[in-house]
Symmetry: C2
Subunit: 386 residues, 2 copies
């Protein structure tokens, strides 16, 4: 196991009848901005629940935060906050709304220059206005971490930041609200959480058996509960299990003491940036490509993954690794999540564009847990997915 630091102060409220508690959690005297997306919270009762719980509070609203939230939209919210002198942000919706809120909270307090630098140059933030969230979509895990990903329309970029100031004060997890999601979004959530685990698990071994088993626990639960929620999002018990799995997938627990990869995410973000493909679907495309190209380097862990998660116990190590990749692809496809460029009409030329972009960013030393993912590997991995 590697040395590590772990810190996660997010308070979680999970289940039914949790919304009414937020009245005690949001400071009484502060002016609140309620942020949400396309308005699904007005159909599933969440909006009403929030307003009831916060009656008599001074609330302003900002709606219309899009999937893959944009810098442009965020900056409109920043303007509103400054104009209205808002002191507390409350996000309601899925990962996009929460990620946007994290960036907005940071950007309002950023006085060192253009807030875009937080993303483009990794400038550290030194403050953030307090925020919390109501989660209605299990997927990204942002409800219990300090990370966010923001896109910029004008430049087709999608970039991440992370800061100890960017933990939500609390997150209310509502499996019942998630039951009203379209099944495609449920499928995205399952795949997103799955690949989050993979990026922290399918790395070089460091004798961390507990972390490995925790990761495998989440994967097995996603494999078991994911199809049930895809078939019937209103299956409350399965949705609860999916939702908690997605949160645990990216709250820091499984990465404590082990190497991380994240190259699949880095490459996937470019497919979203160029073609606006759902985040989870980009991961489903890229992951098998990376695994095929780096099969030798990742073989030990692929074999362990195949055996413990998919019960693959026969064949040579090479065959077992290959079978583990196949089973993963089949799992994604069984949820209606396609894994090839052609499924999405992505042209082969996009590969050049993506490789060029990584080159321009100075990707000489490679990304991933062992810095093996260099431009040539990215090209091969994407060519594998045509």
């Amino acid at each position: 196991m590697k040395d590590f630091e772990f810190y996660n102060p997010v308070k979680i409220l999970f289940g039914k009848d949790q919304l009414e508690k937020i009245g005690d959690l949001v400071p009484a005297e502060k002016k609140i901005l309620l942020l949400y997306g396309g308005g699904s919270i007005k159909k599933n009762g969440v909006y009403e629940g929030i307003i009831n719980a916060l009656k008599d509070r001074d609330i302003v609203e900002f709606k219309g935060i899009e999937p893959n939230p944009t810098y442009e939209t965020c900056m409109n919210a920043v303007d509103l906050i400054k104009k209205e002198k808002v002191e507390y942000l409350l996000a309601a919706g899925g990962g996009s709304v929460i990620d946007a809120t994290k960036f907005i909270a940071a950007a309002v307090s950023y006085e060192e220059g253009d807030p875009w630098e937080i993303l483009s140059k990794g400038k550290e933030i030194k403050a953030s206005i307090p925020f919390a969230d109501i989660l209605t979509l299990p997927a990204t895990g942002t409800e219990m971490n300090k990370n966010a990903v923001i896109s910029r329309k004008s430049t087709n970029e999608k970039l991440a930041f992370s800061s100890p100031y960017s933990f939500p004060q609390f997150s209310v997890l509502l499996p019942e609200a998630a039951g009203t999601l379209p099944k495609e979004q449920v499928a995205n959530g399952v795949v997103d959480a799955f690949v989050h685990v993979i990026e922290q698990y399918l790395t070089y071994p460091v004798n961390a058996p507990l972390q490995d088993r925790f990761a495998e626990s989440i994967l097995k639960t996603l494999i078991e509960e994911g199809p049930k929620t895809y078939k019937n999002p209103k299956d409350y018990e399965s949705m609860s299990n999916l939702m908690w799995s997605a949160t645990m997938a990216l709250n820091g627990i499984i990465k404590a003491g082990v190497p991380e990869d994240w190259s699949v995410h880095d490459i996937g973000h470019e497919l979203t940036a160029f073609h606006n493909i759902d985040h989870a679907r980009t991961l489903a495309i890229v992951l098998p490509g990376i695994w095929h190209v780096l099969k030798e380097e990742k073989k030990d862990k692929l074999v362990q993954y195949g055996e413990r998660v998919w019960n693959i116990t026969e064949g040579t190590d090479d065959e077992r690794a290959e079978k583990a990749i196949d089973r993963t692809v089949e799992f994604f496809e069984s949820l209606g999540v396609k894994t090839k460029f052609s499924d999405y009409g992505i042209p082969a030329e996009t590969i050049d564009k993506i490789v060029d972009r990584f080159k321009k960013r100075g990707l000489i030393f490679g990304i991933g847990d062992r810095k093996l993912v260099k431009p040539g590997v990215i090209r091969q991995a994407l060519e594998d997915r045509l």
Copy 2:
């Protein structure tokens, strides 16, 4: 899954070269009380590391906190804190020192009466002076939770309290220091962590597959790593895995959304109170007794435990449950932790005394996850262990 709230703000620093960081974590201006036990920290380099990291700070010391820390000792520390106007407590050692520090920190701030009421009457505390700890012994999990157990010599009582004010601000986990422990203490730690998991896992099923798998992950890791650390405490990698497993066993993660039991602990505490037996050893005595008596009621989960943790896949459910209990007893015994009254010279009369004590406390409705543990069950369970 049941509805739940989860909150754990403890910062963890794990591994080598962590001690030097505490200079940045302990507020510079505060007068510090360093609390420790019998002085092992002076032999394993931890004391020196602390003093080096906190050079130029105003530090007072309080040493001699005993295993199963007593109210009497704690109150001496409270007197010292008041006299010296100490503002920050730093515990260094195992669970006893940390538990004592939690109680001391609460008692200093308790102005509503005799601090013993926090334990005896469950009086809520409303403040605590800040504290942190350096952990040198994997076992109790107190380094990452808000609970503590304190004994009172004068009345032979051992009681617990829990408060949101009683989270350590940070905990430094030092597997290297744990490598200097006597092997009996390592064995105690393995068994203690094991039974902590059991009390949150071997309860009635609520369709919480992730929590079940996490619990089984910790149990399997303890079964794998425990014997290695018992054989050779200086095996750094195994000790690291044991230490993190013990922390994860009782930091709230595996109990989120599931029922808890704790009857084995409640009964075990009485064996410590009457005969001063190591906490872990009392659990090893009581657990098989409770399982034998409640085998029918706990059968489903015992079978799952047997299959997933011990690979017991043959026989009737009854045989599998029985085998799971046997394997558990064998595991404890393999670590030199005996499981019978006779192994410790405990007289049979102690059973009457313990049952009487529970009766006097008004144990009409029973303890445990389904309130099944009433005086009659306690008697049977202990008679099973003669």
